[in-house]
């Protein structure tokens, strides 16, 4: 075997046509974007902020499996105005010992669910906050599943002990009437790291040297119609630590003011845009949507930024997650992550994303045997996670 065999070997390696087309499209998009000034290029691991605590307790796993049609991803979402193509209702994650698994058959075409729009709208208008264990409402957790017009399978690994409800509660998140003053924002504790804009970055109105001047991009400030998701019991801080940590790459991290419970898209744009990058977040992401952790009943939480302008490839399961954490004195941190962590186990690719690192809640999605699975893990015990994943 000589050199030509090496050549012959790599002659067979070529990018797939759809990859080429996709790349072309992104290049064209990039060309059409106005120039932006550069920002600092620093990355920081969340570990630097001491999010990981020093406890090695075994993590229990809560699994919520979500019916999701083919070619869609959790990050995919339309506006609350409806026209959603799929029903992405989530089941409720219960306590640590509860594991409810529901799967739906992969579908190749958009699901036309007459109940969906209404369902989504209700979700949007009524942010859901978990209650305590006394207010369990099992029905709510299963209704979305029954609405999926595909064959569903429900399997219970362990006895589910729901500890919260998906019904709106009195303590539901209510945006404050006022927002922090700009001055206050800029006198906030300094952001440790400011990093490069993500792919799809667009200059904002507040930047100093971008072209085109202000861009009045409509911002979505109402709770978005992400999935009816992650209504996780306000979890105790488990303090689970592992080196094999879901170490999402944080391309942005910035402080949010203490007591600022209402971080609208506009506010976030100020925090990120004015303070830390030459753009405006909402202009970077015209379809910017955000949800606060409180809406999920989390100490910290996540929201998602998605859309073509994020430069994130839905098809490749890439999406942005904003993690808001108040695990630190005087600060909340917001961090963008762009790439879920992909790993392959026995030929199946699993995509991990940290939903709430403070609460040790992680998200994993994968496709297996024609089914799409979305799982929430409480704690990151790799052995247990892998065992769970392989059980499907």
């Amino acid at each position: 075997m000589k050199n030509n065999e090496y050549k012959k070997y790599f002659d067979q390696v070529s990018p797939e046509q759809n990859l080429i087309e996709e790349t072309k499209k992104k290049m064209l998009d990039e060309i059409n974007k106005p120039l932006v000034c550069s920002s600092k290029n620093t990355r920081v691991s969340f570990i630097r902020y001491g999010i990981l605590t020093a406890c090695a307790a075994a993590a229990a796993v809560s699994v919520a499996l979500v019916p999701k049609p083919a070619n869609t991803h959790i990050s995919d979402s339309d506006n609350c105005s409806g026209n959603n193509q799929v029903d992405r209702s989530f089941t409720t994650v219960t306590d640590l010992s509860a594991t409810t698994i529901i799967s739906s058959k992969k579908t190749s075409s958009p699901i036309k669910n007459p109940n969906y729009s209404e369902n989504i709208e209700n979700t949007c208008q009524t942010p859901v906050t978990p209650n305590n264990a006394d207010s369990v409402n099992d029905t709510d957790t299963t209704v979305p599943v029954t609405e999926v017009p595909t064959q569903s399978i429900t399997r219970t690994i362990e006895t589910a002990v729901p500890q919260y409800t998906s019904a709106p509660s009195q303590t539901a998140y209510v945006p404050p009437q006022t927002r922090p003053q700009t001055d206050s924002i800029h006198t906030a504790p300094q952001c440790t790291v400011v990093v490069t804009a993500p792919a799809g970055y667009r200059p904002g109105a507040s930047g100093g040297n971008q072209e085109g001047g202000p861009v009045n991009t409509p911002m979505v400030t109402q709770p978005c119609c992400l999935e009816q998701i992650y209504k996780i019991e306000k979890a105790e801080i488990s303090g689970i630590e592992t080196d094999i940590y879901v170490n999402v790459e944080y391309d942005y991290i910035a402080p949010l003011l203490k007591n600022t419970t209402d971080v609208s898209a506009e506010d976030a744009a100020q925090y990120f845009g004015d303070g830390y990058c030459p753009g405006n977040l909402s202009n970077m992401y015209p379809d910017f949507k955000m949800k606060m952790p409180e809406e999920y009943g989390l100490e910290d939480g996540m929201c998602m930024i998605f859309g073509e302008h994020t430069g994130l490839d839905e098809k490749n399961s890439k999406f942005a997650v904003v993690t808001l954490s108040k695990g630190y004195t005087n600060l909340k941190y917001a961090a963008f992550s762009y790439k879920p962590l992909l790993t392959v186990i026995n030929g199946t690719q699993y995509s991990f994303t940290a939903l709430s690192q403070y609460n040790d809640v992680y998200f994993c999605s994968f496709e297996k045997n024609g089914f799409y699975y979305d799982l929430c893990f409480k704690g990151f015990d790799l052995d247990q996670i892998i065992e769970t994943l392989l059980s499907f």
Partner: protein, 171 residues
Amino acid sequence: MIGQPLKLESDIDQVISMYSDMIYRLASANVASKNDADDVYQDIFLKYIKCVKKGIKFESEEHRKAWLIRVTVNHCKSLNTSTWFKKTTELDENIYSGTFEFNDAKIDFSNALMHIPQKYRSVIHLFYYEQLSVEQISNILGTKQSTIRTQLVRARALLKEILKGTYFDEE
């Protein structure tokens, strides 16, 4: 097109058609899975387009090719040294299940390449596939020629050991 901002789709088509395979193969030789290679491929072209957009001009086609190679190699290095990769080394055996599949599956260069250090992979690929001279590789990677030669020798030795045979001519 050299030195001119890319404006037309045809320009993009040209760049991609010229360097698509080169970048993808170089990425494939440097990363462990097809998904990573896909990512690298796309990232490189986006970096390229951003560079051109910023006004960076390439003096010649060779210059552009060298730039693309250098950026690809560096990008792969970054990917391979990222925290995530470092923290998942114990899953290597599974990660490899996502490597390329070829008609001639018995020749598993991909696995073999992944078992030699990153710096050797690029050199091997550039030398044996892209058929660049040691001098050219040296210029592109910014490394001394003697270093390149040494790396080639060591890489060949490692591959010989892994693949249980002599696979590369020492020419």
